[in-house]
């Protein structure tokens, strides 16, 4: 019962770990650059999920906007992780934008987005 409680009590965390691992794997192991970026997105979103999970409070806490009549701290969700994650999302999309820009540069230059094919092209050019 204890373990069950333990697993259920933290199911959000388990899911974020799974997502993070999926993203991490895609980032390292995938051959296609676009896939790597997809992995990167998943990876970062997983971290955001983790932070949002920190913020939540059980027992009727409401969204972090002041309502009339509610003035106790435990009645609201923790706003700080939300703020941090707003920033993180923005950072994420910026990184993503830059990465996509570089993808396009790569495609312009090599005509492909597969890592091994680009490596082969570079090797061929070196031999010339």
């Amino acid at each position: 019962m204890d373990t069950m409680d333990f697993i259920i009590g933290k199911y959000n965390y388990w899911v974020y770990i799974v997502l993070m691992m999926i993203g991490f794997y895609a980032m390292i192991a995938k051959n296609n650059f676009v896939k790597k970026l997809v992995g990167m997105n998943i990876f970062q979103t997983a971290i955001i999920l983790y932070y949002i999970s920190i913020a939540s409070k059980k027992g009727g806490a409401t969204i972090p906007i002041i309502k009339e009549g509610l003035d106790k701290a435990h009645q609201y969700l923790n706003p700080l992780p939300h703020v941090l994650m707003l920033t993180a999302i923005v950072v994420m999309v910026s990184t993503f934008g830059v990465a996509v820009a570089i993808l396009i540069m790569l495609y312009r230059r090599y005509g492909t987005l597969e890592e091994d094919e680009i490596m082969a092209i570079i090797k061929m050019e070196k031999q010339k």
Binding site: G9, K10, Y11, N12, Y13, W14, I17, M20, M21, F24, Y25, I28, A29, S53, I54, A55, S56, K57, K58, G59, A61, P64, I65, I66, D71, A73, H74, Y76, N78, P79, L80, P81, H82, V83, L84, L86, T87, V90, V91, V93, S94, T95, G97, V98, A101, I102, I104, M105
Partner: protein, 92 residues
């Protein structure tokens, strides 16, 4: 490559799970995260900044400097894309 990747992923995953064992349960209102700094934001947002949305007040005031950084990140990304991709064709 794939084997290294799986290895790295498994190790990271193991670390994460290991850490989760000691974490406060999900949604625990008494976790340190909810008790140490954040109550001030919740209680202070109206009297100190007159803003009901505490996310906005934290974002733009209490931790406004982070947001300046964030906006700068966006700006950087924009200029970067402009610099890397923009090609002025002969017409322009």
């Amino acid at each position: 490559m794939r084997i290294i990747a799986i290895f790295a992923v498994v190790i990271t995953g193991f670390l994460l799970i290991y850490a989760t064992l000691d974490m406060p349960n999900w949604g625990d209102p008494n976790s340190p995260a909810s008790r140490h700094v954040s109550p001030r934001y919740i209680e202070g947002t109206m009297p100190e900044t007159a803003t009901p949305n505490m996310v906005t007040s934290v974002l733009a005031d209490y931790r406004g400097y982070d947001t300046l950084g964030e906006t700068t990140v966006i700006f950087t990304a924009g200029i970067v894309c402009l610099m890397l991709l923009r090609r002025v064709t002969n017409g322009q």
